[in-house]
């Protein structure tokens, strides 16, 4: 990672994108069933200092022997200490991570990918729509929006989860409300005692009152189908595809656009995405098996 020119290898000054940094687990916060937030620290102080990310970007987390997995950052982009990843146990790599404890190390490459268009939101109303584990990639954005609260109009978070007990960041969500993020929640499947909304998340948008489509920027993160139908509802209510941004997922392996796995139409999701303006990516959502 030496960027000195003195070596005479100026053409090779760019760090090798394939080699991970060592990251140590500083803290593990259990969230809900099979989901926990891992707070990491880069072991090399220079690397830790140099590390900055924008909301919406991701890292490749690497467990030697198990492999790599692309995980969005879920921490505060303005708190350099917080390299947080909220991870759901869903496969080989995440299973290996779930078996780790504080003090253990793993590899990290990143940050990679595009970020949420914060600048474009200044002075506008913002609606964030999260589905399931789609909330963590929006959390860095929420931190940033709330840190600069006065620069934005109305802020909404519409959050859909599978069931009440699968809702993430429960304590934090009420803090967000207090700081000016209007929160509406719904679940697909009710539990006994649940008095909140039941139904999929586009319905929350359907019902949103005092909504000014022209004044609003929307950012959606969740399963592709949920994003499509949320965007559809937004457009029925008068928004345009150019006002909507989504976080897209494919099989990301190299994260640098060199392995070919994550292509969707002309896009490499890892480097051209994962955040896309909806009009740019939606034509390809609609072609089955693309």
């Amino acid at each position: 990672m030496n960027s000195s020119c003195a070596t005479g290898e100026t053409s090779n000054a760019q760090p090798n994108p394939w080699v991970p940094q060592t990251a140590r687990i500083r803290e593990i916060t259990p969230e809900v069933d099979n989901v926990a937030t891992y707070h990491l620290t880069l072991v090399d102080p220079a690397a830790a200092n140099a590390y900055h990310f924008q909301p919406g970007q991701f890292n490749m987390l690497y467990v030697p022997g198990a492999g790599e997995s692309a995980i969005s950052m879920s921490g505060d982009p303005d708190s350099p200490e917080t390299l947080a990843h909220t991870i759901r146990l869903a496969g080989n790599v995440t299973k290996s991570i779930s078996e780790m404890k504080v003090g253990d190390t793993l590899g990290l490459r990143g940050p990679f990918g595009t970020s949420w268009p914060l600048e474009a939101c200044k002075g506008r109303d913002v609606i964030l729509v999260a589905g399931g584990i789609g909330l963590p990639p929006l959390r860095p954005l929420i931190y940033r929006l709330l840190a600069e609260r006065q620069q934005y109009g109305r802020l909404h978070l519409l959050y859909g989860a599978r069931s009440p007990d699968m809702r993430l960041y429960t304590a934090e969500r009420s803090l967000w409300s207090e700081r000016g993020l209007e929160l509406k929640e719904t679940v697909d499947r009710s539990n006994p005692g649940w008095l909140g909304n039941v139904g999929v998340v586009p319905l929350l948008l359907e019902r949103l009152e005092s909504f000014e489509p022209k004044q609003t920027t929307m950012m959606i993160c969740g399963p592709e189908l949920m994003m499509r139908f949320t965007a559809r509802t937004a457009m029925q209510r008068g928004m345009t595809a150019e006002q909507i941004w989504v976080s897209t997922e494919r099989n990301m392996q190299c994260a640098v656009g060199l392995c070919g796995h994550c292509q969707l139409g002309p896009e490499f999701i890892c480097k051209d995405g994962p955040i896309f303006r909806y009009d740019q990516i939606s034509p390809y959502f609609k072609v089955e098996g693309l």
Binding site: F58, G67, S69, A70, I71, S72, I87, R88, A90, G91, N92, V93, T94, G113, A130, G131, G132, I133, G134, L135, P136, P137, L138, G160, A161, R162, M166, T186, D188, S190, P192, W194, L195, G196, N197, V198, G199, V200, P202, L203, E206, R207, E209, C221, G222, P223, E224, L225, M227, F229, V246, S247, T248, E249, R250, N251, M252, Q253, I269, P274
Partner: protein, 165 residues
């Protein structure tokens, strides 16, 4: 609450907003305000029910009973939503039980009178049926998404960029 007050309310509710003054007045004439305290049953599955409702505030849940599992909420409805479409479509007995989960204010519209109004004046009939169809199509799409259990468990070896589940 008089006809004019009800009309004022209907103007603002999503289901009825945008109808002409006259249509709203005609609707108001066959409507009345009805409140359901938290926990009250709006109607039960299998009953014949004479009113349909447009919610003003609060929240109701639509439940379907499964033996040994009780009455499971499948959808909640809020301000602006239509409740009780079976009555207006004359589809016979109610398909679900509806319970107020919060103190809920509604405008109740007499279904038989509404049907008659629609029959007599196909212009308003078209407007009403279009709105019923829109509400039901949204609920149909929502139900489809719910059936797919998008947030359910799958095995993933790969990324979690949020879209992933």
């Amino acid at each position: 609450m008089d006809v004019q007050q009800i009309q004022q309310i209907l103007m603002k509710l999503r289901f009825t907003s945008g109808l002409s003054d006259e249509d709203q007045r005609n609707l108001a004439r066959i409507s009345h305000a009805q409140n359901f305290p938290k926990g009250a049953t709006v109607f039960t599955v299998g009953s014949d029910h004479k009113d349909i409702y447009v919610i003003r505030s609060g929240r109701v849940e639509i439940c379907m009973s499964i033996p040994a599992r009780g009455c499971l909420p499948v959808l909640t409805l809020e301000a602006g939503d239509l409740v009780g479409w079976s009555s207006i479509l004359k589809q016979g007995e109610m398909t679900a039980t509806v319970i107020a989960v919060e103190d809920t204010q509604t405008i109740a519209i007499d279904a038989a009178n509404l049907s008659e109004l629609c029959e007599q004046d196909h212009d308003i009939g078209y407007q009403i049926m279009r709105r019923v169809a829109t509400a039901l199509s949204q609920r149909l799409v929502a139900s489809r998404l719910q059936v797919l259990d998008m947030f359910g468990d799958v095995n993933s070896n790969n990324s979690q960029i949020g879209a992933s589940e």
